[in-house]
């Protein structure tokens, strides 16, 4: 008995040691939180829910988009919303689930019957065509993983930083899906585009008939496609069902949803969405037009706005993306941009797709600021806030892609802020203030007496 009891005590002890050790290991990996009460509490296994026609999310997972309006106009009724933002802070990996892909619609989501929907291709072509959705799905297809980003992504931070914003608020208008469809080049050959046609009008079948002029550069003709598939299934209505244009690397607005018409011409049409909207007003009152490519960008999604962290080990992770091609480098600074360290990039790193980056970090518990900057294969480096604003001012509204800084206070609270590394030396100058006063005005005042 005695002997038995001893051995039981021994095995309990060793189990306790193991638990202590593993709690320490996992505990440090999650900022000191213990994962399980004890492995001795073996959960009872039960027969689960019956099999079903589709898989829903776990009841423990709460993950949704948030409908919003313009900069600073949050918590709106969905009827008044103009976009719905992806929860970047709750995603893992690089692909956005279809139902969480950001949404931007200009006059609601139309209810289109794929059996009745038509795509008209005409203009400067030899043989105008009207295609059904079945016509398109029977043509040679391509699949491609690429990001789509609303040109307004980041617009909350043009003029000021609301410290109550999450990364979903600041950067939730970018998503990455696999899209499947017919290459534009195939359709161009089918209708016999005239050589003098250098522009194409793409028009949607939503109430507003959203339309954009697209320059027919080699890159666009080679990469654009008319998609009917999204992450392996037909497009979701919010994302263009039954067909949409995909323009890898270019303004989200050019990826015309509910596509009903492609018209070839020899100059841009100057639609409302490329004149009154989606043009960037500079400080001198002039506006950039047809700035169609999405710029080199990145953001740390954890730790990010409104999160709380503990001192010690933290894993920094986020997304980087560029309309120019592949991301080749993401650097992270944990001291407000003074020093930088290369983060790891998760494979696969795909051109014009969101790339996941991560980095180990030991936080010493002192207030600091964390920031990321990306570099793409064309050597474009994401600009710091000051350089960016010096170039474009604060009225551009679209194409914000400055480095995103999160401040962390001594309690570990993470907040949205606007600062640059250039701010530090200026603060440092204040140390010379007494000396400066003594040598200038203070001194003069004394001499007057």
């Amino acid at each position: 008995m005695h002997h038995k009891a001893d051995s039981r005590d021994k095995s309990n002890l060793s189990r306790r040691r193991l638990l202590t050790a593993s709690a320490g290991l996992f505990g440090s990996a999650t900022g000191g939180r213990v994962l399980a009460d004890t492995l001795a509490d073996v959960p009872r296994r039960e027969v689960g829910a019956p099999l079903s026609g589709q898989s829903d999310r776990s009841k423990y997972v709460h993950i949704t988009r948030i409908p919003q309006a313009g900069p600073g106009v949050r918590k709106v009724d969905p009827f008044d919303a103009i976009n719905s933002k992806t929860p970047l802070n709750k995603l893992v990996g690089a692909i956005t689930p279809s139902d969480l892909h950001y949404e931007r619609s200009h006059s609601g989501v139309p209810d289109l019957d794929p059996g009745k929907h038509r795509l008209l291709i005409h203009g400067l072509v030899k043989k105008p065509l009207v295609l059904t959705v079945d016509d398109l799905t029977s043509m040679p297809s391509i699949s491609r993983v690429n990001f789509i980003e609303c040109t307004g992504n980041g617009w909350e931070n043009w003029k000021r930083a609301d410290e109550n914003l999450t990364v979903q608020n600041t950067h939730g208008l970018v998503s990455t899906n696999e899209w499947t469809g017919v290459p534009l080049r195939f359709l161009i050959d089918l209708v016999g585009k005239d050589h003098e046609s250098t522009w194409m009008l793409a028009e949607g079948d939503d109430a507003a008939g959203v339309d954009r002029s697209i320059p027919l550069t080699d890159e666009i003709v080679n990469e654009a496609f008319v998609a009917y598939g999204q992450n392996g299934e037909p497009l979701r209505p919010a994302h263009g069902f039954p067909i949409r244009l995909i323009m890898p690397g270019f303004e989200g607005n050019l990826n015309i949803k509910w596509l009903r018409r492609l018209k070839f011409g020899d100059r841009p049409w100057m639609t409302r969405w490329e004149t009154a909207r989606y043009t960037q007003l500079l400080q001198n009152g002039k506006a950039e037009q047809f700035q169609l490519r999405m710029d080199t960008n990145s953001v740390i999604t954890s730790p990010s706005g409104m999160m709380e962290i503990r001192s010690g080990y933290n894993r920094i992770t986020g997304f980087a993306w560029s309309g120019h091609g592949k991301i080749v480098k993401v650097e992270v600074s944990t001291d407000a941009g003074v020093t930088w360290k290369a983060a790891e990039l998760n494979n696969p790193v795909l051109p014009k797709a969101q790339t996941r980056f991560q980095m180990d970090w030991e936080w010493d518990g002192k207030p600091t600021k964390i920031v990321s900057r990306s570099t793409d294969e064309k050597q474009n480096v994401q600009p710091d806030r000051k350089t960016f604003i010096d170039q474009v001012g604060t009225n551009a509204l679209f194409h914000y892609h400055a480095q995103q800084t999160w401040s962390i206070d001594s309690a570990g609270r993470v907040r949205n802020v606007l600062v640059t590394k250039r701010w530090r030396p200026r603060l440092w100058l204040f140390r010379w203030y007494p000396w400066y006063m003594h040598m200038t005005s203070g001194g003069r005042r004394r001499s007057k007496r």
Binding site: G209, T217, R267, P268, A276, G285, E288
Partner: protein, 145 residues
Amino acid sequence: MKLWDIDVRPDGKGLPEGSGTVAHGKSVYEENCEACHGPNGQGGIKDRLAGGQGSLATENPIKTVGSYWPYATTLFDYIHRAMPYQAPGSLSVDDTYAVAAYILNLNGILSSDGTLDRNTLPAIKMPNREGFIPDPEFREVAKPK
């Protein structure tokens, strides 16, 4: 195909036959547009349509048809395709010319006895016509022939 082929270019290509006066446009506006865009194109819950000229280089730019839009043809095209918001395409061609004329009149671009049609509309030079810089990457493609 004609019913689908609704786009209008700055050179007037695509503009339909028809015409409308500023005076008639005022009544079309009051009936269809004022609820969202406010009296005289200002103070509504949706986009401001008039005023703002001279504000683009300030801290608080006001972008309206008169202060920002580079082409008058875009105004016809947009009203014709997308307005009124709840019933796009419900205005007749004449009513569309008329309400475009009224909005230009609110901005001091067309006189009160003015009329718009497919010839007069493309001839209007908007105040901010030279206010845009095409992106260098697409500048050569963007050059109108």
